[in-house]
Amino acid sequence: MNETPLIPAGVKRCSKWQFSLWMAAATAVLLWGVYAMYLIWYKGLNQTNMNDAYGFALWIWADLAVIALGGGAFFSGFLTYIINKNELKNIINLAVVIGFICYSSALLILAIDVGQPLRAWFIFWHANVHSMLTEVAFCLSCYFAVLTIEFIPLILENPRLDKKPFLHHLSHNMHGIMAIFAATGVFLSFFHQGSLGGVAGVLYGRPFAFREHILIWPFTFFLFTWSAAAYGPCFTILVTKITELITRKKLVKDNVIHLFAKISGWMIITYIIAKTIDTIYWAFVTAPGFGFTLMDFYASSTYNIGLLFAEIVICGFIPGLILITKRGRENSFLLMSAIILGVIGVSLNRWVMVLQVMAVPVFSFNEWYTYMPSWQEVATTVLPVAYGIIVISLAHRYLPVFPQEKELNPID
């Protein structure tokens, strides 16, 4: 019997042998992470180098970072389904896959990070509605469900699955109401991206993190949502470019990339202006009220003022300005530089809002706290990267992720 091929028709894929080798390499890294994960679950968090002063460390950063980078999914969903930027349909599949990877990773990291993983359901069952973390957990799980729903129709488009009538109909029907799911996803994303910012912003015992409020939301709430929407697309474009580099073919047309980059650029510029205003207000009003000067927060050799400069100017204004100018985003070197700086910028922001918060001494007689992750922490943080590579490779090989691929790479 002639089976329908697994690989979509009209596209060329590398040989099975080559693909297996690639997957084996990624799996090896994955297994290393899984082993570390097992150690942590079995032996407890003493496997990490966290301590009572550094209760939030590498993982929480990784969590915040992947969620920010996965922000491309909700923002492209917003642009495509709600304000009808139809060109972006050619990149939204990838954004959804990236979002799915990022959010499943974030949930996994959270499950490793808590001291009593078997009680993690308490956050739902016994929820404290006043905690930003509760909002994060709820929206994160709901939005992960939405991303899964957005991912399923793409999976069902695999030729062999599409042959099954039920799955064919399901895919079609899910497409039909995708705008509703996307809108729900945007709503959820708005809140949990913000809540992640709120996590730090509400800590009034930590002058480095604390920000003034609008109603119950500290400024960081809005800044985090804004920055995820701004920098998420950079990561989506970066992954597209990396995939194009590895597969050695063009997958998304330039006009799509340029449109996405332009929107990202304007978001970055507006975000970084807001961030600058927030920083100035915090440095000259909030912090002095607690008896701190700006430089008190940057008095360490690791955490020096260069970080703030890097975050705002090098990874903020520079990529923003490149992306909003037509010549900037159409020059491939400048475009690549801008999106890489953007990805670094948002990761740096999340790093500062997690790790520097812990490092800054609050007592006048304390030293700066230092922390170096253990290999188990590093391995479990690398795990999602390997997992992401595996999922994207599988998705690209077997699913029609890039609708323009056939047109851009005719087989004959």
């Binding site: 003493n46 009593q116 009034y204 609050v362």
Partner: protein, 270 residues
């Protein structure tokens, strides 16, 4: 949870620690360890992951001999009343699973070990580092398990714990008062282990709202201050010192500012 304060005479248990009297001997820590079943490690050299409900900080004025001065600051959980004294201390509202709450009858902040799932958000929120995480399962040396205090529940790996102002002693004292059909507790009926253990009498414990308790007068002394008061955490642990540099070290000040002359930057609601 909704704040309720139906009781006419809500108590605010608090502590006043006289830093001029504290010698840094550590008896309070020992008393606390044995009273509260606080686990310890075989090797306690790394203080950053060891558990203690009260610990002693040593600070110096950084001056060369003969002007060198040293001060020891014992620090239990500050049992903060929080911004505006509403009972919203930094740690309570951040807990995602309501494993910690503010008791409006006593002002004491609970920690429920069986509810805590170890996210450590409260530790990130507490500027006093009063909260400790159980990185290991407690290991008691041979037979010591038999000497654990049955009034205090033991903790397990992966949860946060902190000073409870020996709340179990309040529960015992109340039991006796109920039996004797009394409403009020006498000052000496409920005392923390650290206050009892202190050989110099540096630690005074009582109801800050009760004019007959020693802490009421002491907290109003001109020598009194609280740690990191400017953060608006409203701690219920007060310190006494006659030394200016100690007073200054207790909070953060810009160079031109003088301790004691700063208005809180946030309005109090009451």
């Amino acid at each position: 949870m909704k704040e309720k304060n139906d009781y006419k005479q809500a108590k605010r248990y608090g502590m006043v620690i006289d830093l001029d009297k504290c010698t840094g001997c550590g008896a309070c820590m020992v008393g606390c360890y044995s009273e509260n079943n606080v686990p310890f490690k075989a090797d306690e050299t790394n203080k950053l992951d060891s558990i203690n409900w009260i610990r002693i900080f040593k600070i110096t004025n950084d001056k060369p001999y003969p002007e060198t001065e040293t001060c020891y600051i014992p620090m239990p959980c500050m049992q903060c009343d929080g911004v505006g004294k509403h009972g919203h201390p930094p740690c309570v509202s951040v807990c995602p699973a309501v494993a910690t709450d503010y008791d409006y009858d006593t002002g004491i902040i609970s920690q429920i070990y069986t509810r805590c799932f170890g996210c450590r958000y409260c530790m990130a929120a507490c500027p006093y580092h009063a909260r400790k995480f159980n990185w290991w399962d407690p290991v008691w040396p041979a037979d010591m398990e038999k000497y654990l205090n049955p009034k205090v529940s033991p903790r397990m790996r992966g949860v946060v714990e902190k000073c409870s102002f020996c709340f179990h002693r309040y529960q015992q004292a109340r039991d006796k008062a109920y039996l004797e059909k009394r409403e009020e507790l006498a000052e000496n009926e409920y005392q923390t282990a650290c206050a009892e253990a202190c050989p110099t009498g540096a630690i005074t414990f009582g109801d800050l709202n009760n004019k007959n308790h020693a802490v009421y007068k002491l907290k109003n002394s001109p020598k009194a201050f609280r740690l990191l008061e400017r953060l608006n955490t409203n701690p219920k642990v007060y310190y006494l010192t006659s030394k200016k540099w100690v007073r200054r070290a207790g909070d953060n000040y810009l160079t031109h500012e003088e301790p004691g002359k700063i208005k809180n930057n946030m309005k109090e609601h009451h």
